[in-house]
């Protein structure tokens, strides 16, 4: 047994992953820090990503983080390529992504490309499942991803530099500079990321039956995040956050392609600017956020042969959302809280087909008013009621409501029972309505009836902390919007389906010490059954395409002195690529194993970190999307330096 453990300790890494050093020092003992949850969080089904995980993955993007450490299903076109997330068997457009409280999903296609969101730019990642997402926003028929940044008033002066290099021409440079003095905090983060992405994969799609290199998959991304905060008084505080990310990505063809020289490229730019003002009094607080969410995407596909270059597609998408939100919270008593917000968003979006000289240019306004009452009835029972009315372009939308209840049958015995239910609404995206060809002006909003119930048990025994949470969920979605292929390759949008999603999620964790080694084991498993229930549909009762029934992951973290390590497993079950449940249309399941190791050198109050990371060490040849090649075994090595000078601690 000791030998086996020793082997595991050797092959398993020691580390917090590439780039971890850019986060504040994170030690395992901080992982299970618990604090009394606020009354406004009671009963909701929320999962926050541990700070140690954020530190471990700060060199990656949000899609990789969520694939490895959550129940979410990530649909990815490959390293650096378009990646979207779906909760509980719903579609990617049913996942709302909030950045510091504002929805950053593109109003055109209703999704956020998670590969554009570096974990390095985020201090807190929380997942709101099912109707609990209404605590943040509407439209999350699956759920909501909330990304937040917050000031560290005691940071002093900090400077962190990190350089990572890896397989397939991968380089990542990161810089973080922080400064706090008296009432003022400033934080600046920069990154530059590029890769040739010319990995070798086994070509079993074109008849070659040999390893070949991926073509036209190189990319580079860069971005910055600037935050400034100022304490106006002991009760007032103001801040400004500006984030921008640029990406220039070549897109590889599908594996079976053998055609003429092909060039497919996508350029993205995301700019988010948010100003905030907060006022606190003894029993109330008032906050106002105003900002601009701007997205642009240019896409081109050409083929070249001796006869010339032929443009197949050349399109541009641009959108600007001027978003405003006023929040008011009043605590009648410490156990009775009323929260209200009003949101007013003005959207301007344009789609241009430069080849066909077509497109659309639309404006949209939406106003949302939401109120929720939260109450701790007694130490064992708490709950909430929530209601929202949405107005889109001056037209009232169907009413939105939710309720939740949390019970602790035995106080301080670690057992919590939780249930939520709600009616949610997702309005069609602008492309759903206006895209040409295929957009449908007559689309109705999708209506979801969501419910979940779960039990959580936390216990410490013999210095080992154990946590288990099991949740069952269900959702019925009417008027599901589906883009389906039509004749001559044109796709069209329709309210074609009723969809029934149900399943279970299991989240478990163990943490303890073995002598001088601190260890932690965490795992997630989700079973999802999502079927088309449209009575006249030939695929009634069948699982929707690209929704895996099984998703699981497991992580082991080890730490000994200045060494730390992690081992991570991820399994995505098979997915159907057709609306019939036949093995002939199944993408095989895949299993990935990653290792990381690291060593920290303390130099006075500064630190030097060395990191090594091995991904897909079993060298699995797999596809997330049919005939889209994925990289096999690869490595990353990183070095970072943290300079720290404390200020007004």
């Amino acid at each position: 047994m000791r030998r086996l453990l020793a082997i595991l300790f050797v092959i398993c890494p020691f580390a917090k992953g590439i780039g971890q050093s850019l986060a504040d020092t994170v030690r395992l003992h901080e992982v299970f820090v618990t604090s009394a949850r606020q009354v406004t969080e009671r009963a909701f089904y929320i999962k926050s990503i541990d700070s140690i995980v954020l530190a471990n993955t700060s060199g990656t993007d949000l899609s990789e983080l969520l694939q490895k450490y959550s129940f979410l299903y990530i649909k990815s076109y490959g390293a650096g390529g378009l990646s979207t997330a779906s909760f509980r068997g719903t579609s990617a457009s049913h996942t709302q992504v909030l950045w510091n409280g504002f929805n950053i999903n593109s109003p055109l296609w209703g999704q956020t490309d998670l590969s554009m969101m570096p974990v390095f730019f985020t201090d807190e990642v929380s997942l709101f499942y099912g109707s609990s997402s209404l605590a943040k926003t509407s439209g999350g028929l699956g759920g909501c991803i909330s990304l937040n940044n917050s000031p560290d008033w005691n940071a002093g002066t900090q400077l962190s530099l990190a350089q990572t290099a890896g397989s397939f021409g991968y380089y990542l440079s990161q810089l973080k500079a922080g400064f706090s003095r008296n009432r003022f905090v400033s934080s600046t983060r920069l990154f530059y990321d590029r890769a040739k992405n010319n990995f070798r994969y086994y070509d079993n799609a074109s008849g070659l039956f040999d390893y070949i290199r991926q073509k036209n998959a190189d990319y580079h991304k860069e971005g910055f995040l600037q935050e400034v905060y100022y304490k106006i008084s002991s009760r007032q505080f103001a801040g400004l956050k500006v984030m921008s990310v640029w990406a220039d990505r070549n897109l590889p063809p599908i594996m079976s392609f053998s055609g003429a020289s092909r060039y497919e490229n996508q350029k993205d730019n995301m700019l988010n600017i948010i100003g905030e003002w907060k006022y606190y009094s003894a029993n109330s607080n008032l906050t106002f956020h105003s900002g601009l969410i701007r997205n642009s995407l240019s896409y081109i596909l050409t083929n070249t042969n001796p006869g010339g270059t032929f443009v197949n597609y050349d399109t541009e998408n641009r959108s600007n959302v001027f978003a405003n939100k006023l929040n008011f919270q009043h605590n009648f008593t410490p156990n009775s809280v009323l929260k209200t917000f009003v949101e007013a968003n003005f959207t301007s979006a344009r789609y241009s087909d430069l080849k066909e000289n077509t497109g659309f240019d639309v404006q949209q306004s939406d106003i949302n008013l939401q109120s929720s009452f939260h109450r701790i009835f007694n130490p064992a029972v708490s709950g909430y009621l929530l209601a929202q009315q949405k107005m889109l372009d001056g037209k009232l939308m169907p009413f939105i409501a939710a309720a939740g209840l949390e019970i602790q049958p035995w106080i301080n015995q670690g057992l919590t029972i939780r249930a939520n239910m709600g009616r949610n609404l997702h309005v069609p995206n602008l492309n759903d309505r206006y895209f040409n060809p295929g957009g449908n002006h007559d689309l109705k909003p999708e209506t979801g009836y969501q419910a979940d119930a779960g039990v959580q048990f936390v216990k410490t025994l013999n210095n080992v902390r154990f946590q288990l949470e099991v949740t069952g969920f269900t959702a019925w979605i009417n008027d599901w919007i589906l883009w389906h292929p039509s004749e001559y390759r044109y796709w069209t949008a329709d309210n074609v389906q009723q969809v029934f999603s149900r399943g279970a999620e299991v989240n478990a964790g163990l943490k303890g010490d073995l002598g001088s080694v601190t260890w932690q084991l965490k795992g997630n498993y989700a079973f999802t059954r999502t079927t088309n229930e449209e009575s006249e549909s030939p695929s009634k009762g069948m699982q929707l395409i690209y929704i895996p029934k099984n998703v699981s992951n497991l992580q082991l973290f080890l730490e000994k002195g200045t060494y730390s390590s992690s081992i991570s497993f991820h399994n995505t079950g098979s997915r159907y690529t057709s609306t019939t449940e036949s093995e002939a249309y199944q993408l095989p399941s895949y299993f990935l194993l990653d290792f990381a190791l690291g060593k920290k050198f303390d130099i006075k109050q500064h630190a030097l970190n060395f990191n090594l990371k091995l991904n897909n060490i079993l060298n699995k040849q797999y596809q997330v999307i049919e005939q889209r090649a994925m990289p096999g075994r690869n490595f990353l090595v990183g070095l970072s330096f943290n300079f720290s000078k404390n200020g007004n601690q």
């Binding site: 047994m1 000791r2 030998r3 086996l4 453990l5 595991l8 079993n204 799609a205 074109s206 008849g207 039956f209 599908i254 594996m255 079976s256 392609f257 053998s258 055609g259 003429a260 092909r262 083929n303 042969n305 001796p306 006869g307 032929f310 443009v311 066909e356 000289n357 077509t358 040409n436 060809p437 295929g438 080992v464 389906h484 292929p485 039509s486 004749e487 001559y488 390759r489 044109y490 069209t492 163990l510 303890g512 084991l521 030939p538 695929s539 069948m542 395409i545 497991l554 497993f569 399994n571 057709s578 609306t579 019939t580 002939a584 249309y585 299993f591 194993l593 079993l618 049919e626 005939q627």
Partner: protein, 372 residues
Amino acid sequence: MVISKNKYKVNLSTVEGWLSLLLVFLLFPFSSCEDEAPLKQFQVNEGVFILNEGNYTYGNAALSFYNPDKKELTNRIFKNTNGFPIGDVLQSMTIADSLAYLVVNNSGKILAISINTFKHKGTISGLVSPRQMLVLSASKAYVSDLYDKSVSIVNPQTYTKTGSIPLGKSSEAMLKWGNYVFVTNWSKQNTLQRIDIATDKFVDSMVVTKQPNSMVLDKNNKIWVLSDGGLASLPGGKVKACLTRIDPETFKIEKEFVFPDLNAAPTRLCMNNGKDSLYFLNGSWGSSVSNGGVYRMSVSDLALPASPWIPESGKLFYALGVDPRNGNVYVSDAVDYMQPGWVYRYSREAVLLDSFKTDIIPSAFCFKYQKL
């Protein structure tokens, strides 16, 4: 894998023991590679190939073979024989001698297979967006293209592209008559072009109704061109569809049969072996029209049929073929475009003979007979 019981004994009385057992348990089932499905061998005589184009960008095209005498259907014959998929959007198929050429549109290639064993013989690669292949001799064939404004010249024996014929427009259906190949310019275009086979040069063109998608030659040596009229949401909008009869000798329009319903978008013009009856599908883009279905008319008729020969009846007709041996009609139902479609076989009297499920979007039929 053999594990020595003593050497690797796990002590389950400790947390470490449980942890180790859990990791081994999780690692083991996933450490092996997936096995490829064993290849199959086929030897067939007569029947019909059914092309299933699959979904654009999904790479799930497939080929089926049906023997109507034995009522035997075999799906996925290409992948099961050769161990790799056809590719993305199987557009059309041409048989020449013992080989069949599969035109794979969004994979930019043409796969050559044996028509008897389905074994892969070669690949013509480097094409832009191939649509149809017309074999002119043992060493020369033309390939039309959706984006390339040239017709490619390929050698079917060596599987190489040998040249191209600039047309200034994209191309679709092709038909040989005399020393010329007639080419329709479909995508958002409205012309019919002529190419001189001897010189491989563009000769001239004429205007027809918008988006000529298919073309046949009748027993009177007249060319029939079916135009769908375009799509309302694309530049230029939709015009009424039209069936046009052209004299290839004079290269002039003889008669136009205009469809009365603006929404009608007829496709898949084909002909029986006697070349005296025309068949086509009348539907709409992505949905059905009130009188959708399979239409049949004689080449001597003076007007379009008022009602369908085989009504669509809630199905989504997508492909059409006429058996050259007996005049039986094959029509496919693409269902919802996302699951395996159905093929219906009708007699010459429009009596349903049988039906069977093939693969994703059955899109064309190609008949294989020794002698007719």
